[in-house]
């Protein structure tokens, strides 16, 4: 995948743990105005809109009350790289503590990255501030997991969906805002007359629609979705997923869809990245990852998903992992998965496997030829698609 779309300019990121991602084409700007102009220019279909390079987030662990001293760090995200292309959905899956929600917060600039870059249209957004950062905020929005805490209970739906216009008054003139909010309510399938109601008067699914409407208000290019349906009932999940797919087509959105439910991620994603303990284990198209996984963790994860088909329980192979996920404060040396991996050898404890197309699949025309961070990558069908 990911053939370099354009030649790189001078200052490309060094020491890349993922040799296969496209080259970053940075754009030099002289002033804030120029930066805003670059950031607001529409992206072309098939171009990478977001390029994440060696992103790291460590949360310091401190001791002491008045004089805090650092005694360690939780390595929530420890050097991940990926691209998001215009108009696609990139799914990120992983178990709790793998760092997927931290990635969302970093992309939203809600957390300060410890190291690494996030390029949006050639600008490293981790280093932006002021008006340029505001322009980024207009274009990258978020939908949150919990519909009960993501809406301010003391604001009306109109105020919640209209808040983006208060913060970015240039997007909608004051007299027009009420109409815009009602339009947005209509777009997400809610009655525009609900504008004066409070969040507690809605069900979980309806609240999630309100959250989506707020995310859409500024007409963003990218929406980061952090577990957007996991708090909803099964029958309501499908409604929200369908809505998100419809909106993607209608507004030409790119999604980063973070979730732990592998079936939903497959349904909505064009490409999928699997995270384990702060690192990307494997990344590829949905078919490559689900039908031709080469990383043992992906295989175990997929095999553990209960399938709604009682006939499958007899012939499906289950890889039951032993033990728990190690603490991100003290991850294993080498490959982070080795402590639970049935293939682990000495090499795995010594060498950190790079996220790259495995040597044996290089140049071979097979769906198994996608990036996988394993020394002993090999294909295994665990879903039973064949």
């Amino acid at each position: 995948m990911a053939e370099p779309t354009k030649l790189a300019k001078d200052d490309e990121p060094k020491d890349d743990a993922t040799p296969n991602v496209s080259k970053v084409e940075t754009v030099k700007v002289a002033s804030e105005e120029e930066a805003v102009e670059v950031l607001d220019a529409p992206a072309q279909r098939g171009e990478p809109v977001l390029q994440v390079r060696n992103l790291v987030k460590h949360f310091p662990l401190t001791q002491g009350i008045l004089f805090k001293k650092q005694i360690g760090a939780v390595k929530a995200v420890d050097g991940i790289s990926f691209d998001l292309y215009q108009g696609e959905t990139l799914g990120i899956v992983g178990e709790s503590g793998c760092g997927k929600s931290t990635v969302a917060k970093l992309l939203m600039n809600l957390e300060q990255a410890t190291a690494g870059e996030i390029f949006y249209k050639g600008q490293d957004i981790t280093k932006l501030s002021g008006r340029a950062l505001k322009a980024v905020r207009r274009n990258i929005q978020m939908v949150f997991q919990d519909p009960y805490t993501s809406l301010n209970p003391r604001m009306t739906v109109g105020d919640i969906i209209g808040e983006p216009f208060d913060i970015h008054p240039e997007v909608a003139p004051k007299g027009d805002r009420r109409r815009r909010v009602q339009e947005l309510l209509d777009v997400v399938g809610l009655n525009p007359e609900y504008i004066n109601r409070y969040p507690h008067q809605f069900s979980g699914g309806q609240r999630q629609r309100i959250g989506i409407a707020r995310g859409l208000a500024l007409n963003p290019e990218i929406i980061i979705c952090d577990e957007p349906v996991s708090a909803l009932d099964v029958s309501v999940q499908a409604q929200v997923i369908n809505l998100m797919e419809r909106l993607q087509d209608e507004f030409n959105l790119s999604y980063i869809f973070i979730a732990h439910d592998l079936s939903i991620v497959r349904h909505i994603s064009d490409r999928v990245g699997v995270m384990y303990l702060g690192k990307m284990a494997e990344i590829g198209t949905d078919q490559q990852i689900y039908d031709h996984p080469t990383h043992p963790y992906t295989q175990a994860l997929l095999s553990a998903v209960p399938v709604p088909d009682p006939d499958a329980r007899d012939h499906r192979e289950r890889i039951i992992l032993t033990g728990d996920v190690p603490s991100p404060a003290n991850p294993p040396s080498g490959c982070r998965f080795r402590t639970r991996c049935w293939k682990a050898e000495d090499k795995c404890a010594k060498e950190v496997p790079l996220l790259a197309v495995p040597e044996r699949f290089k140049g071979v025309d097979t769906p198994a030829a996608h990036e996988s961070a394993c020394h002993f990558a090999e294909e295994k069908d665990v879903v039973g698609a064949a």
Binding site: G205, S235, V236, A238, L262, V305, D309, P310, D311, D324
Partner: protein, 362 residues
């Protein structure tokens, strides 16, 4: 004492109560381990009454797994609380019904008798192990307490038993960890401790309410496997309460689907997934995305689950149902046996839909 499962119709209030024919009833036709009959539970809060359970019937045999499937507010957990006798009352109240456990109606037992049943004969596993365990007592003490309280065992013996139990649920280095506190264990390990506690006195019935919902998928698989294995070993009846159609397909023998406080469909597990006989079940099955292929747009059941303070008249599902006719808006559909077109009975299958024939055969 011994009741043979019979189908009885009770025309009184338009409500029909039916026993679920057990899928693997003992050859001697012995009574099921647990049988819930026409159970009604209400919650009276201020001036409104919430009808959480409206005539539930189901049964479980020893060694059998019944999955009770439903979304939030379907009444699946409230039914379980009524069986265990841990309903919050007030405001909760069993308005009507019987619960037979090993042949006796436990709703008629005095509270001290019921307390003896809990833990010893029937036990429950909750979704949130962290809040179900006492944070200031070591897990060894909490496990041992079961033996001290119910069997008058000495402290030392109880501790030995606790270690044995922790071994059973495969907690590594049980002897070293017996003095640890709940927060020192991971989520999966805590759920194992909950299972150990439920199994301590070798009960005949286990009710597991969303036991793996809070766990990661790889840990979920471990815990579910363990639970199924122990169930087989002790020949217990298991009621698995869940919203997850995947988990159900993996472990259940038979299924009861609940909607708005009622059972809308019962079936042996393979049958339900192949040929659902209720539009709600059918819609649910069609609305979940698949792991093994990408699929097109998801089928979505329209609308929202009903407000339990104002359940729609007729079939509670009618406002969301694609097959609804006038009769669905007026008459509550009884839970009736489902048959083949030629009238051949399908054992264990019932549907509460006026148009079950069209649903299953159409």
């Amino acid at each position: 004492m011994s009741r043979t499962p019979v189908t009885k119709h009770d025309e009184g209030d338009g409500m029909t109560s039916l026993e679920m024919a057990p899928t693997n009833a003992g050859a001697d036709g012995a009574a099921p381990l647990l049988e819930v009959r026409d159970l009604h539970v209400e919650f009276a809060v201020r001036d409104s009454v919430t009808k959480a359970v409206n005539g539930v019937n189901y049964s479980v045999n020893a060694g059998e797994t019944l999955a009770v499937l439903g979304e939030s507010g379907s009444g699946k957990s409230v039914t379980a609380q009524a069986i265990m006798g841990i309903l919050d009352s007030p405001p909760g109240r069993i308005a009507k019904g019987e619960i037979f456990f090993q042949g006796q109606d436990i709703l008629r037992l005095p509270e001290n008798e019921r307390r003896k049943l809990r833990g010893a004969k029937m036990a429950m596993i909750f979704q949130d192990a962290l809040s179900s365990l006492n944070p200031v007592l070591s897990v060894g003490f909490q496990l041992g307490e079961m033996f001290r309280a119910h069997q008058g065992m000495s402290r030392k013996d109880a501790k030995a038993k606790a270690i044995e139990l922790m071994d059973r649920v495969r907690i590594p280095a049980a002897a070293q960890r017996v003095g640890d506190y709940p927060h020192q264990f991971s989520g999966g390990m805590r759920q194992r401790i909950m299972i150990a506690m439920a199994l301590a006195l070798e009960p005949d019935l286990i009710i597991a309410d969303e036991p793996t919902t809070a766990l990661d998928v790889t840990v979920q698989a471990q815990v579910m496997d363990l639970l199924a294995e122990l169930q087989r070993e002790y020949n217990m009846g298991l009621i698995l309460i869940t919203h997850d159609l995947g988990v159900v397909a993996d472990v259940a023998d038979k299924i009861a689907v609940m909607y708005a406080g009622r059972i809308v469909e019962t079936a042996p597990v393979h049958e339900l997934y192949k040929r659902p006989a209720h539009p709600y079940t059918k819609g649910l099955l069609e609305s979940i995305p698949r792991l093994d292929h990408k699929g097109q747009e998801l089928y979505a059941i329209k609308g929202l689950p009903p407000n339990l303070q104002a359940i729609p008249p007729g079939c509670a599902f009618n406002p969301r149902c694609t097959m609804a006719q006038d009769v669905c808006r007026t008459d509550v559909p009884p839970l009736v046996p489902v048959t083949e077109l030629d009238g051949t009975e399908l054992p264990g299958r019932h549907s509460a839909c006026h148009f079950w024939k069209e649903t299953i055969h159409g």
